[in-house]
């Protein structure tokens, strides 16, 4: 937001994190079930990608909803 005009930067951030979260979660869930890991990573049994993707979705949603431009003031 510039002054009181326009879309807040936090909305852009929320949108980007939401998109990233969805992509990363979906990709890692697919990896988990398909066992198609092309590249070996350390501690893959933690399924860190899935948890991190969910975290991004939560943070993204908070910003996306809180700073949506169509929100009534």
């Amino acid at each position: 937001m510039v002054g009181n005009k326009g879309i807040s930067i936090w909305f852009f951030i929320g949108t980007l994190l939401l998109i990233y979260g969805l992509i990363i979660t979906a990709a890692n869930i697919y990896e988990y079930f398909s066992h198609s890991m092309e590249r070996v990573i350390v501690l893959k049994e933690l399924n860190f990608g899935i948890w991190w993707g969910i975290l991004l979705i939560i943070i993204g949603l908070i910003y996306f909803i809180s700073f949506r431009p169509w929100k009534k003031k």
């Binding site: 510039v2 930067i9 852009f12 980007l16 990363i24 501690l43 990608g49 991190w52 991004l56």
Partner: protein, 576 residues
Amino acid sequence: MVSNLSSHLTFLFAGSSLISLGWIDSLIIVIYFCFVLGIGYYLMRFTKTGEDFFMAGRSMTAWIAGLSFVAANLGSLELMGWAASAYKYGILATHWYWIGAIPAMLFLGIVMMPFYYISKTHSVPGYLKLRFGEGASMLSAVSFGFMTVFMSGINMFSMALVMKVVLGWDINFSIWVSALTVMVYVVLGGLLAAIFNEVLQFMLIWLGALVIPIVGLIEAGGWNGMVARIQHNIAGGDYTHLWRTMGSAQDNPMGIHWTGIVFGLGLIISFAYWTTDFLVVQRVLAARNLRAAKMAPIIGAGFKMMVPFIVILPGLLGLAIIPGLVGEDVAKVTGQHSFNEVLPLMLARYAGPGLLGLGVTALIAGFMSGMAGNVSAFATVWTYDIYKPVHKKLSGSEGTDAHFVKIGRWCTIIGVFVSIGTAYLVQHFDTIMDYVQALFSFFVAPLFGTVILGMLWKRCTKAGGFWGLFAGIGSSIAMWAWVKIDPSALRIIALSEHAKDMAENMYRALWSWMICVLVTVIISYMTKPKPDSELVGLVRGCTEIPSEGDLPFFKRPIVWAAILFVVFLSLNIIFW
């Protein structure tokens, strides 16, 4: 067509690499580039006047200005350079985040910001012009211009190195894609686009880089497990204590005595950088009111204190988990991995599909935020502090606002291209950071002497300011040249025969600052000062600072500064 494209990409991405990105990772990176360009395009509609383009309309909240303040500094030196330095020097590298940043940032917010903000200056050289006249301002502006393009070059080179190591991308390809992207969004949206993207980049840096310390600590068995591994890998060396080994230069891997860290780094270099380097100060000047301007560096200090978690800790974890990385010179001969590559090596170790793309995006974001910071600050200083006075002298007219916005956009373009040219020069030092420190001590340390005297001492005169700054910069360059010609001179400058490069930079900054202050004071006493009436809004004692007495206790900047200072002291004691 397909085969042509394929062969073209093979050329661009040629070379050995740690990993290859999956299409998910590539998608993450492509989306990032679309977003930053989209934000630049969106903000173009709000960038009409010079105040919009160069100062973001002075409408930023404390949080946005504060995050941007830190993000502009999160360039390649923060991510790649300091992870590498942590691998080389151990936890001592944290000094650059704590004693080398926090006191100075708090001082900027509480003591200096009122004068910068009340004077309504558009830049640090602009403040010098108001306080000392054209000479000191021009000297500062020109030296700043050189420093920013060098910094941009460092950013670009580091970014290209990461892309080469991690992905096998051609160095030239990486430099040109990132540089042109930054150029487009800064040209479109000016400082506003730079600041907004810096906040976005700050979030991505944290969320992309946090993967390494979290999973790394799990693998190493927590902090104690990591320390035990380091002690096992490097017998006899202490890499995990901040102050315990600083009693003598020969007892620590950095080869520096504690006086160099406390006085050279803590009192001179950090104060010089965080309070007078226009790259970071510009973000705070864009705040919407004085309280926001005072809070922004304090908020920035809070986040700065946490940055070692994503930068230093990965370097230490690398020391524990992947020992045996060598210096750049050895790596070139033997083909081993260099410790400059520790961060991408750790990223490749832990990041799965998508996360790898996010981590690489975090690195790119870091480089681009630093680059955008340099470019937008360069455009402002070049336009307002160098071009504008020259234009006035030559044409006899002030020039229109629209004209200077146009010049600012051209300066952005020229700045990017000059930076690209310097990117290839940054290959002479053992670590990238050593080079940056050398640059800081040439220009910024003496500048701090001039600004702080100008702000706090009303007896300081125009001639004193100019000649002090001139002597400080000159002496710094002379000391640097002396050591280059005769390396044994290092023991004289750094006060120890065990001193290494980093110690030289600390002490050279200290001496050049002292010479600047000494010359300024002597010349000031020999010349006539300005009357108090001409110093209103510029100098302590002649300027009325608005009271904060009507603010609730928890909203006062001084309260938050005090809290952060206590946290800073506590961290130093915990990791003593």
